[in-house]
């Protein structure tokens, strides 16, 4: 199977077949990563530029490793502060990067739509590594991959996304992807952290974690940023934790074979208890491991690779 798209800008509009193709391909790369020499020549001669306008540790490292394991040449730049503060516009930055003949742009930016803007203005394949409060498609793919490792099907799966939905690109990408795959998505958050019309994306809303915790197959916990208090989205993180934190006692009520995910970084003690993050239901580190395989699959397929092709050797 091939992927008939040049860019990966979001999970909105990505079909079930495409998602399955990506996950199947990631499966192959996962095996490669377990080998003694976890490297294949698939993207030899291609160049990837990781353009991180917003700080990131795991996503950036994950992309860099994925590129190196595929033998692509890769460079990472993190323009300090915003490029406009230095007098160069985003479009100029990108035209300069493009002029150096690159094949992939992996873009993280605080402005929603920045990767779309670049994709429409240059000839390079663009992968969205997180844009503002919009989407983070490779995170959703690695979440799906992780789910598939533990559960047989997405169909009818009950997934709760817990926390700051309003400001979360991870939530949006996961809602699109999980709905496409047939899962049942419930959003659990205080009203101030739910964006208007989010139900129209196909998710349900439930304001009380205690009422739904024992029905869920998966709880995805989102990071609560401390500055939300200052903006009056929340009176205090203490009050938030009282109603929405995944505490030990709440986690104990989860049903058998259910598990807990978090895209990181975790605010231990606020959105979840430390012992829950490290506990038996947590697959948080699996998510991180799978990120590399999933990003390899994305790069490989966008470069025109085929899933059933003999990959390495």
């Amino acid at each position: 199977m091939k992927l008939a798209r040049k860019h990966l800008l979001g999970m909105e509009g990505v079909s079930r077949t495409e998602i399955e193709t990506l996950l199947n391909s990631a499966e192959t790369f996962k095996e490669i990563l377990d080998r003694k020499i976890p490297k294949v020549p698939s993207l030899r001669g291609l160049t990837a530029v990781n353009l991180f306008f917003e700080p990131s540790t795991r996503t950036r490292l994950s992309f860099e490793l994925a590129e190196k394991r595929l033998s692509a040449d890769s460079v990472s730049i993190s323009p300090s502060g915003s490029s406009s503060e230095k007098g160069e516009s985003l479009i100029d930055t990108i035209h300069n990067v493009e002029a150096m003949k690159v094949d992939f742009l992996i873009v993280r930016h605080s402005a929603a739509g920045a990767p779309h803007f670049l994709a429409s203005r240059c000839d390079v394949a663009v992968i969205n590594a997180g844009d503002g409060c919009h989407e983070h498609p490779t995170q959703a793919l690695l979440d799906l991959f992780t789910i598939r490792q533990h559960l047989p099907t997405f169909e009818g799966l009950k997934v709760a996304i817990l926390g700051d939905i309003a400001h979360s690109r991870v939530a949006r990408s996961n809602i699109w992807a999980l709905r496409t795959m047939g899962a049942d998505v419930t959003l659990c958050a205080p009203r101030t952290l739910l964006p208007p019309g989010i139900e129209d994306l196909g998710a349900k809303i439930h304001p009380r974690l205690d009422d739904l915790i024992d029905e869920m197959d998966i709880i995805m916990v989102l990071r609560i940023q401390k500055e939300r208090q200052g903006e009056s989205f929340l009176p205090s993180s203490r009050e938030y934790a009282r109603h929405f934190s995944l505490t030990r006692s709440r986690a104990d009520r989860m049903k058998a074979n259910s598990f807990i995910m978090h895209p990181g970084p975790i605010n231990r003690g606020i959105e979840m208890a430390p012992e829950v993050a490290d506990g038996p239901r947590s697959v948080i580190l699996d998510q991180v491991t799978n990120g590399v395989a999933v990003r390899m699959a994305v790069l490989y397929l966008l470069a025109g690779g085929e899933t059933d092709h003999a990959l390495a050797n």
């Binding site: 479009i91 803007f117 989010i198």
Partner: protein, 439 residues
Amino acid sequence: MRWLIKDARLLDPDRGVDRVADLLIENGKIAKIGMGLAVEGDHEVIEAAGMVLCPSFIDIHVHLREPGREYAETIESGVRAAAAGGFGAVACMPNTDPPLDNHAMVRYVIDQALKYGPVEVMPIGCITRGRAGERLAEFGEMVDAGAVGVSDDGDPVSDSSLMRRALEYAQQFEIPIFTHPEDRSLSRNGVMNEGVVSTRLGLKGIPKQAEEIGIARDIELTALTGGRLHVLHVSSAGGVELVRRAKERGLNVTAETAPHYLALTDEALTGYDTNRKMNPPLRTSADREALRRGVAEGVLEVIATDHAPHPVHEKEAEFDRAPFGVLGLETALGVLVTHCVRPGHLTLETVIERLTAGPSGVLGREHRGIREGEEAALTLFAPEESWVVDPGRLHSISRNTAFGGERLFGVVKALFLGEEMIPSDEGTSSEDRPATMVS
């Protein structure tokens, strides 16, 4: 010069004129109207069968950017754009740099405009000095210099007490206060309409209540003061209702909307096109419906473009960073004919009235219109002809049209103003246009 315009549909809804006839312009005046007028030696004959000849349009809400941002627009390029769009007069907003908050600045704009032909430029002065929202500007002095109203457009006057004083003080000069209604504490950091589309796009929304709270406040202050209020760029259904109720109460309130709100909705932003980013933002189809109804029923008596030029290098940016504002003058007629008249939402008569007598009324001017003996101020256009909007060929220095690439029906053929005729193809030779292009 004498022009004989033959077989045009003469359309002046305000004067009840709607018939096919010939019209002779002589010495800057409408000399004669009738069937089969005889051609005399020195007449220039314009065959206009199938075309509409109506009073020239008046846009009471444009930004000409001069002084201060001449790289976006100048008075010269602005009046060329106006003429190309069929506008014989425009009222320009004072958010220049420095702002039009005194006699000299108002006079400067008028004097500049006089150099570039017959299109009339009517400055709107500031409500507050430096548009700082703190102290009233000198209305009387600005009115003496030629200002037709006052506004801090672009920014609301946040201080309710100051707005009250403005509505009181303006009365002695018989000028309207043009209000930009917005509760900034509610719209802060927003870049588009708040709703399911902003949620999908991950962009910060501006709830329509930010506008409606502003309108409601200014209407109540008008009730308090007996002042004269004109509400700029109404974009929401709730805004239309507030204006409707104010009129039912007998308050001296008028209001406008812009062609882009009558044509587009927030769904037009799904590609993050910054040339569709404006404030107030494009709303939902229900709002667009209510705006069309408001225009049809006369709750909104004016269609004004809010022509807001921004250069390519500012608009070619992340959606969050790009400035608010879109061009309007050159596409107004085409957008209205294509999106409102042809689909049957508005009649051509209504559209023409809202571009002519409606705005005259807001400025307290007599509507000249089509009748013998009247000074010629006429626009000739072909409603059934179409053109494709090429941003690179607009007369405006900027390129930020929301309708680039679209085929629009309604082609302006000529503008007659007094002794002058500006054919639509003449102004295209704008040599001083910078060599920037939108891809």
